[in-house]
Subunit: 186 residues, 2 copies
DNA sequence: GTCTATATTGTGATAGAC
DNA sequence: GTCTATCACAATATAGAC
């Protein structure tokens, strides 16, 4: 770590994470973040040069949280087919815990069409990590490498489709639909 | 029409439609809309009581534009399997024409987690119209009505998954992936 | 490193003339 | 129905004391 992980910094990023994800990035002002974090405005700008940089840190944190949650959820699972299904069930739990706020990476991009290079890089990085998980699991499942990517991409499409539809409809049935589809194609 | 379709009103809604979709709803101010539309601020508020009402009109217009584009694209197509594939190809064309701005209904919901009742209603209405299209096509394809909804929902998941992934990656390959999957399951 | 106070610009919305 | 002028407030960001 090049930057000190002070308690103030932690307070800021945790509050930003909560508010950005719950209310949306553009609807969350710096003022609300410092107020709820209990820190001064200049302290925020000491740790994060701009709101954009805070956004990158937010995306990074979201990625780490999801990876940790998924890892814990599939701990000890050796069957790749079961791991994939558990990943969707984990998503269901995640959305339920987070008031159906959807995928933070997709939402940031949806909010900022003129995305900055920094934000774009982090969002894509996070999404590619998700795709990689499916590729790894499918690789264990299939020997024929030519169909591995195709199957993994299909699963990835179902994953994102279910995530956004759950967000739109505020219910878990799209995940159920995705699980039904999964059991047919796996 | 209860409201007169004056040229000023048309200018406002057309400009709002273009800017909301290109820049995002929250990043587009009333000031920019009236400036680019070439009308006065009070004129906008004469035709639309609030920005929220303008948003509902925007969603409605987007829905009509997509329906019209799709109808034209599948004109004369009787085979339901071909109609579904053409729908995805139409999506590809739509995203390419619109700078990969994704689905306007999903984006509005992604931008406003605390969505108003009016906006929520219109967004869901538009999404349900998309689902209905797939249900209709699959109904022509399958006789067994118990599997119709499942298959249509799977296609709908692929449709939304491909749309958001194209938006994120700014490329059409997710639609290609969805088409590959479609050809396997149809 | 953290604070208070301030600068500057933009936001959605309205009053009142014509 | 359309306009100009203005309201009250919130936005991101910075200066300078401690």
């Amino acid at each position: 770590m090049t930057t000190a992980d002070t308690s103030v910094r932690r307070q800021i990023i945790n509050t930003a994470d909560r508010l950005f994800y719950k209310q949306g990035y553009n609807l969350t002002g710096i003022n609300q973040i410092i107020e709820e974090a209990g820190v001064a405005k200049a302290s925020l700008y000491y740790h994060f040069p701009s709101k954009e940089d805070l956004c990158v840190a937010y995306l990074k944190l979201r990625g780490e949280k999801w990876s940790a949650m998924l890892a814990k959820y599939i701990e000890g699972v050796s069957d790749p087919r079961e791991a994939i299904i558990k990943c969707f069930e984990c998503r269901s739990k995640y959305l339920l815990q987070n008031d159906f706020s959807g995928c933070s990476y997709i939402r940031i991009i949806a909010e900022m069409p003129q995305r900055s290079a920094k934000i774009n890089r982090q969002a894509i990085l996070n999404k590619e990590k998700q795709r990689l998980f499916f590729i790894e699991q499918v690789s264990k499942l299939k020997k024929n490498s030519s169909t591995v990517n195709d199957l993994a991409n299909t699963i990835f499409l179902l994953f994102d489709g279910a995530t956004v539809q759950c967000q739109v409809y505020r219910e878990l049935s799209p995940i159920e639909n995705a699980l039904k589809a999964l059991k047919l194609i796996l």
